[in-house]
Amino acid sequence: MNNKITGKAFVLGNNIDTDQIIPAEHLVYSMTDSEESKLYGKYALSSVPIQESGLPGGGIKFVDVGKHLSEYSIIIGGANFGCGSSREHAPFAMQVAGVKAIVAESYARIFYRNSVDGGFVIPLDSTMKINDKIKTGDEIEIDLDQNKITNLTTGTSYQLNPIGDVLPIIEAGGLFEYARKTNMISQ
């Protein structure tokens, strides 16, 4: 596992549900065909109300029209990130759009599991509310060894909670990789 993650922040509010992350009408595309699955990146976070997309000002599209990659690779969220449906297409869409990590105050269970078990993005929790302290576009560094997130634009650091029980799965890169490493399933 790469122990430092850097990138630009895209800041969101509380209760970002999976319908906002990837609207249900887009769940029909193939997740295995590498060309077709780019559509998930194209529509990632496309149903976030525009005034709340890219805080504090809002009005920022996560992915530019006609593209499937976002210039933002770190999502900063509030409480209950990823609530709603079980669609694994949600963390997958973020991965396709180039997201590496999410830092939020708390997560909905299925979204968290999907992020970890599918090895799509690393969900981290902040020890305090930080989506009012970081601005969309700020340069961010996450240090996984130190459990720390630093806003390089302002020079301020914030503590993260240790990853806990699921660390071995994240380190392995997903549930299947973990199960093979521990000989739960055959190589």
Partner: protein, 431 residues
Amino acid sequence: MGMTITEKILAKSAGKNIVKPGESIWLNVDTLMTHDVCGPPTIGIWKREFGEKAKIWDKDRVVIFPDHYIFTANKHANRNVEILREFAKEQSLDNYYDVGTDRYKGVCHIALAEEGYNLPGTVLFGTDSHTCTSGAFGMFSTGVGNTDAAFILGTGKIWEKVPESMKFTFNGAMPEYLTAKDLILQILGDITTDGATYRAMEFDGEAVFSLGMNERMTLTNMAIEAGGMSGIIQADEVTEAYVKERTDKSYEIFKSDADAVYQSKYEYDVSKLEPLVAKPHSPDNRGTVRSVEGTKLTKCYIGSCTGGKITDFMFAAKLLFGQETKVPTFIVPASTEVAAQFEVETFNGVTLKEIFTNAGCEIAQSSCAACLGGPDDTFGRSVDHDIVISTTNRNFPGRMGSKKSEVYLASPLTVAASALTGVITDPRDYL
């Protein structure tokens, strides 16, 4: 120290005598359910990991219901159903309920109950967040994503963190103007959309046990709207009668111990509760119907795993009988069994089908339909600035289609009363 019903079921599934909240355990899964949205990617992951020629862990324990995007011209959606069909053939899967055949059922959570897959004491995982619905049968059921489902498909096992339990007790006799939907909206307003995250929500009390299985499923169905891992109601004679009518499979009834430990307990007197709505754009944005009455509507919608069961339509028929709707009103029976009952069940001697048709409602074939928006040609999908009142479970931005639309969630009684006036209306005015 005693254990809750959830802890007992999970301990049995993990092969342990005792489990404690917070503990990570590996479960032996009794049933895995999937559908046309998450089934194809689950199959894709399973094949990638276990090989093109692999066989699934137990074909009798895997159930597939195409239900989400069925009656659409969308080629990608139809391709997904074709992938399920091929998979069922290749794995000689008996428990596949194909579109366009007599076996087609409709919405998976209701179909699981009707087809006898919900068995007290068992553990069911499904690739749908509303899999918690099955907990109404005194079993552990929860939603997972494609990777977890693919893992189960290959191994029959999955890890889970034992949840803390919360207890919700409803005392008293249900007044005729209240339904299970009002009870769960009451809880959601109290604990919010993350009030039960990683927890089991246990429902108890004489009002809960006075309900039939359909209404009990409305309660457990929306546990996920509070972030709940599961919702559960201990099985009783009502549960047993329903199960025995549909299957001869064995089951085991578990009960919470008197000294079981709960993270929190809530008690309600149903005689003091009122008809409720969840206002846009969150299921916990609770208000009384009275507080929003008169709000102009453009659509009314009765359907889904939450509000498309026969009891939901019996509630609606009571108000729609002999009346005409003032706004377009969409009726989507959750399953083909519910649709068939429209021609048999009556109110004042008139069938539900006639009542709805005479009232000017549009009746669709069974599926998830516009509950989650779906392809552009989906029946009842919201458009532009629609203002919808619906018996479904979610009103997130864009959930029913249009990102500009507003959705109020309510009971079938409230939706039917509102259909008669074209504005949000308290059902007590018509009962």
